[in-house]
Amino acid sequence: MYRSNVLVCGGTGCTSSNSLQIAQTLKDELKKQGLDKEVNVITTGCFGLCALGPIMVVYPEGSFYSMVKVEDIPEIVEEHLLKGRIVTRLLYQETVEEDTVKSLNKTAFYAKQKRVALRNCGVIDPEKIDDYIAQDGYAALGKVLTEMTREEVIQTMLDSGLRGRGGAGFPTGLKWKFAAANDADQKYVCCNADEGDPGAFMDRSVLEGDPHVVLEAMAIAGYAIGASKGYIYVRAEYPIAVKRLQIAIDQAHEYGLLGDDIFGTGFNFDIQLRLGAGAFVCGEETALMTSIEGKRGEPRPRPPFPAVKGLYQKPTTLNNVETYANIPQIILKGAEWFASMGTEKSKGTKVFALGGKIEHTGLVEVPMGTTLREIVEEIGGGIPNGKKFKAAQTGGPSGGCIPAEHLDVPIDYDNLIAIGSMMGSGGLIVMDETTCMVDIAKFFLEFTVDESCGKCTPCRIGTKRLLEMLEKITKGQGTLEMIDEMEQLCYYIKANSLCGLGQTAPNPVLSTLRYFRDEYVAHVVDKKCPAGVCKDLLEYTIVKDNCMGCSLCSRKCPVGAITVTDYIPAGKKRPAFEIDHSKCIKCGACMDSCKFNAIIKG
């Protein structure tokens, strides 16, 4: 028994800011102080509050140290762990209230969250199967195999109302029912862990923080549909997730929780990892399966659906990581428990990766039906630097931008579609007034043009044409007719593309046109970028009366466009400078260098 447990976050965010070194230093320091038998150091998965990483929590007190540095460790060990005096100076300041330290669950970031899929993330050591078992791990698999029929399992999933968390929101139970209904000598269960949506990291956090939950749920799915083999298709860009999944698979084999004759019931199930190689289209189910087969990950027309002909032409069920992460608890706590959370048509919780212009970047899990305002303003802590909220982008390259007027819409699958966006996998990027919406649409189109697999013409050529028009608009070469033409092309691409990638690719353009048409018009008619992002539409000017004549900008200018004038502003000693707009390349170096805010852009 240890008297104290120190949890150090080993998720990608915190690891990137050196948390593994912190854990090691902590162990060394504890040894030095002779405390290594009394204090246990555990590397866990993501706590969610990535903006404050690296994160370290000391139990039983629950002291939440944020932005920990290696240099802080000796002090924390000496003061807190040896002498029992919490180093309040280094705590997450929101947990400090005058003299007392309040529970993490009462802070704004955690208070409104409900952790179902993430319940073990930041709690257990993901590399130890015993930790998972201690949290009722594999109990659901045991229950399913020994007490439930296949039909009962599927019925439970149907009753729970769980819908796929990968984007489209198809009912999971229905998917299983279809796959179960098809007889075949071999069926497969696949897990989509190819989280390609840029700016989303929900699935990665589950894989890194609680890999066994995915294995357990896949085995349950295997039992329900009658499959004995599973594949996890995971991004190679997630090295920590890959490593922990492999460890988890090996441990589960060792414990007899994967392999032959699981729980002595005669049920066999095995899981293999397949690494994705960076193709966004592989998030589409038919493309993913083609990629597991080792080929170019191109989608194919449906029907036949994967439940009939999937991987290697056999009936297959494919679910997303977060979907799986809900399943063991639905089995243990019952369908009614799960269905009691959320809205009428969207049950349970949803994990969002909150990023962009927001105070608390991180991972949040909230009941369906929570409003965007609660997520952005309360949990997320609002926009930094006193800037104004402009839009929230959900659904990544397939989704859209939600403007301030819809901040109070309860978030669920159907409401998001109604306001022109979509749930997607859960990326939620906040944008403030300094983000140009035309530029964002262009950013996503660059992404889809890159990622379009090229198989069908509407997507391959259509997205390229869309991008060209957006480029013209951001360069000030657009016309009002072009905007209309663009809109038409969007509907054409949506209606005619083969797979989800093409069908949703125009969404970023359509939703920004719907809510921010005036910005497009400003680019086209006034030749101005209201947010000051599109370089070709900017002009840098020196406000002569503020210029101190220090000449710093003129020395920084890479093209010699800034020269001295003979105008000496009132009260100043030296003559002011000016910018020759015919030479200016709009690099912004002058504005960055000016110490007197004398240079403006617009």
Partner: protein, 166 residues
């Protein structure tokens, strides 16, 4: 995505070839072996020149066009060698709205190469990557295994200088 194909002559060693042969032998009977073998081959050689792809095709008894089709499809497979230091700029949405586009431009200016290129001395290569998932640190770049987060463009010259000296 358009791939840049290197014109640098292939310089594989017999040791690398032996390693590759071992990988091929291990996967030969697996269904869908092309991708895992390409991934391991890239670990061995650092990139996938046509010579390596031909060896894989022969070893696995699949047409070389199938191997080439796969290697050109996925962005992770590199057909050009990477520099000693590979600078990778995250262009995920969270990084982008926090200015990673400017970071990429600054790096390109500092190194004198465009994205997906390698400097002539083989020291630096520059790539634009999709989300690495460290959105809390946006904007983020990685140089080999080192991660630099919460970057501003004026920090770039000092970071690059560190590697130039090393």
């Amino acid at each position: 995505m358009q791939k840049k194909i290197s014109s640098i002559p292939f310089q594989g060693t017999p040791e690398q070839e032996a390693q590759l042969k071992e990988v091929i032998a291990r996967h030969k009977d697996d269904p869908g072996a092309v991708m895992p073998v390409l991934q391991e081959a890239q670990d061995i050689y650092g990139y996938l020149p046509i010579e390596v792809q031909t060896m894989i095709a022969e070893g696995l008894s699949v047409p070389v066009d199938e191997v080439y089709g796969v290697s050109t499809f996925y962005s992770q497979f590199a057909l050009s060698p990477k520099g000693k230091y590979n600078v990778s700029v995250c262009l995920g949405t969270a990084c982008y709205v926090k200015g990673s586009g400017d970071v990429l431009n600054k790096l390109s200016e500092e190194l004198g190469i465009e994205a997906e290129e390698c400097t002539n001395d083989g020291q630096f290569s520059l790539t634009a990557c999709r989300c690495i998932g460290a959105c809390g640190l946006a904007p983020v770049i990685t140089i080999n295994d080192d991660v630099y987060g919460r970057l501003t463009t004026d920090q770039i010259p000092a970071i690059i200088a560190k590697y130039k000296e090393a």
